[in-house]
């Protein structure tokens, strides 16, 4: 059984096809990486699965843990267990991190259940300490005026607090220095478990030294053109994407 199963997905932006007959299956407990040059459709995949309104899904299916994601609202998809760590997290002035994560957790709770604020803050502070985020950040407005590294840590913090079934990390390594990369990767690794799946989207092999994937896929013009184990990432790093392009042309 798989957490995420995508079949024959075609996605358009303003009538331009970006994903073309795309298929991918990620079983529980596995971490898959997607690599590929700019414009190959990696971010489109993540946004389309999260039901961003600008991405038009014209064909195919996407299932998460038995839920049909097509035609679900973005918040329903989130509550069904899909978490997307954004490449560019959005600034929301005036909404504090603590209140935002709290609201997100409450959105998942049954009406009858009582929110336990003490337990919540205990967990929040623990995760913040793990990720090297100053506790004062609870009162900061969400992503507002954060550095690139702070934004990415904040994404992983939200992911850790919401306990999703499936996580997509969209270029989480971009804009991170080596120390931040270590901390963020450790945060992700600590969440790896037999009942959670991960899709890691990245340009560089560097991130995959820290978050070691079970499988690596190479994306090209809206499709997966090659799959392999973690060694494929190293091969790409040394040979570049042109190698794949040439093979495809042949």
């Amino acid at each position: 059984m798989s957490t995420l199963k995508v079949q024959n997905l075609s996605v358009y932006i303003e009538d331009k096809p970006i994903l073309n007959d795309f298929s991918l299956e990620i079983p529980y407990g596995e971490v898959h990486a997607i690599m590929g040059p700019n414009g190959s459709g990696k971010s489109t995949l993540s946004k389309a699965l999260a039901a961003h309104p600008n991405y038009d899904i014209r064909n195919g299916t996407a299932e998460l843990d038995g839920h049909n994601l097509i035609d679900m609202e973005p918040d329903e998809i989130s509550r069904a267990g899909l978490f997307l760590a954004f490449q560019y997290p959005i600034e929301v002035p005036g909404v504090t991190i603590a209140n935002f994560i709290r609201a997100a957790i409450q959105a998942r709770m049954e009406e009858s259940k009582l929110f336990k604020a003490v337990d919540y803050y205990k967990k929040l502070y623990q995760k913040m300490d793990d990720l090297g985020i100053d506790r004062k950040f609870t009162a900061r407005s969400l992503n507002d005026g954060f550095s690139g590294g702070e934004k990415k840590r904040c994404e992983i913090l939200q992911m850790a607090m919401l306990d999703p079934k499936f996580c997509i990390l969209d270029e989480t390594d971009s804009g991170l220095d080596i120390d931040a990369l270590r901390v963020v990767s450790a945060g992700v690794n600590s969440m790896r478990s037999s009942n959670r799946g991960f899709l890691v989207i990245t340009h560089y092999q560097r991130l995959l030294d820290y978050i070691v994937p079970d499988k690596v896929h190479v994306m090209w013009e809206g499709k997966i053109v090659r799959s392999g184990d973690k060694d494929l990432a190293s091969e790409l790093e040394s040979k570049g994407y042109d190698w794949i392009k040439e093979e495809l042309a042949a």
Binding site: P74, S78, V92, P93, G94, F100, S141
Partner: protein, 468 residues
């Protein structure tokens, strides 16, 4: 989102109506006879009747301010409004004595409950007159007066007459003249020197009858070193026809006094809310208007402070929410009339759907004064592409010695923000509501706690219907 709300008030809450028999009814339309009738019911002295009749002439002479304000004002039909309705009894001192139909209304609005929880005194006005008025006994012993305007005039004419109409002259504008002609109800408050009220006094204004115009008149005097917080709330049922609410509120802060005046305006969308509010701030006194406008069809209200004593301080904190079919035309007036006076205006408006919010600010600092300061910030948030906002600041500063700061901003809730928040599991309307609450948050923190909770709740409810 915010689930803990001690005060349950929402936009629909006031939308109910019990049939009521009135003992006194001035009939439909406005005339000298109507003014004489009102004055007669109240058994007023002749000076006051003359004052009213003169005000009526002023009202008739003055034009609607449509050369600068919205043409929607022309839709007010002064000939179909009922100007006075009452049961003809003095306000009760206990809720038991309040007639059942009126009592049920206020119970449904939660007023007796709030009184028990956190208020030092309550006045509850039903159409033209107060049905209930009571203050804690220890305040009476300290010499605090908290009654309706009719009682105030009768029992305390020496204080009332001294300040009545002195902060806002009859001829200030067409609607202050109308109020001066037909006013009834409102609060009269006097706080003796050095007396500091720890809990707020509250007035609640309820329009019950259709086509009824409410014209309360409030006068608050804080004597030297006195401190008071006054809060007012208001609701009306949703009628098909439009209704007029036109109050005049005058505040006098004597040397070293502090007055905080909080309004949560939640009229139904058929109410024209045209209110004149102004304070006179003497030496080293502080006046703060906290003004929240959520309801009404059209609100025009610019609370002002005349800073006439050295080191006086005036402040307006204003929040306006304009939804479909609403125009919130609000702002502030700060008239510096003494040295070293300071004023601060922070106005935030949110326009939702086809709602429109307008900020009008006036700051005056004449050249002969020294070391005056003003800070004005007005921020607008637009929710939809049809939402509208406009800003008209009028700042007149003469002389070298003053400091004036004006900042304005307009922002829009973006689709990317909503998507991001939805990706974490919040519904679209919860996400909107969080953005709006985030926008007004730093201002709401300044409010008395009981009101900030109510206001957040009201904002959440407003946003629920705004996403489609």
């Amino acid at each position: 989102m915010i689930k803990t709300n001690p005060i349950e008030v929402d936009r629909e809450k006031g939308n109910f109506h019990y049939n009521t028999d009135y003992e006194f009814d001035a009939g439909i339309g406005l005339s000298e006879d109507v003014v004489r009738y009102i004055s007669g019911v109240k058994k007023e002295d002749s000076w006051l009747q003359d004052f009213r009749l003169k005000a009526l002439q002023t009202f008739e002479k003055k034009r609607l301010p449509t050369h600068w304000a919205t043409n929607d004002l022309e839709n007010i039909d002064f000939d179909v409004i009922r100007y006075y309705l009452s049961k003809g009894q003095m306000p009760s001192r206990t809720w038991e004595e309040v007639p059942d139909d009126v009592k049920s209304t206020f119970e449904r609005l939660g007023i007796p409950e709030q009184e028990r929880k956190f208020l030092a005194g309550v006045e509850a006005q039903f159409d033209s007159e107060a049905a209930y008025s009571r203050m804690k006994d220890d305040l009476t012993e300290k010499g605090v007066i908290f009654v309706g305007s009719t009682e105030g005039l009768k029992d305390h004419p020496e204080i009332f007459k001294k300040w009545f109409g002195k902060v806002i002259p009859t001829s200030d504008n067409k609607f202050s003249a109308l109020n001066s002609a037909v006013f009834s109800g409102g609060s009269f408050i006097y706080v003796p020197p050095g007396v500091k009220l720890e809990q707020p006094l509250q007035a609640y204004f309820r329009i019950n009858a259709e086509n009824f115009g409410q014209f309360e008149r409030t006068l608050i005097i804080a004597d030297e070193g006195a401190e008071i917080t006054y809060m007012e709330g208001c609701t009306a049922p949703k009628f098909e026809t439009s209704t007029l609410h036109s109050a005049v509120v005058e505040l006098v802060a004597l040397r070293g006094a502090k007055i905080q005046y909080v309004t949560v305006q939640n009229w139904s969308n058929n109410v024209f809310n045209l209110v004149t509010k102004r304070a006179m701030a003497h030496e080293e006194s502080e006046v703060r208007w906290i003004d929240c406008n959520i309801g009404s069809r059209l609100t025009m209200k610019y609370p002002g402070v005349i800073l006439r004593g050295r080191k006086a301080r005036g402040e307006v904190l204003s929040i306006a929410l304009a939804n479909d079919g609403q125009h919130q035309d609000t702002g502030a007036k700060m008239v510096h009339a003494a040295d070293e006076t300071t004023s601060n205006v922070i106005a935030k408006s949110v326009s939702i759907g086809e709602g429109r919010s307008t900020y009008r600010g006036l700051v005056q600092m004449p050249g002969h004064l020294k070391h005056c300061k003003n800070n004005t910030e007005c921020d607008a948030l637009l929710i939809n592409s049809d939402s509208q906002t406009d800003t008209y600041p009028a700042i007149t500063v003469q002389g070298e010695d003053h400091s004036v700061q004006h900042e304005a901003s307009v922002s829009k809730v973006s689709a990317e923000q909503i998507f991001y928040m939805q990706q974490r599991g919040l519904s679209e309307s919860d996400a909107m509501s969080m953005c709006v609450n985030g926008f007004v948050n730093d201002l709401i923190r300044e409010f008395p706690m009981e009101y900030s909770v109510e206001l957040k709740r009201l904002i959440d409810l407003e946003m629920e219907g705004s996403v489609g």
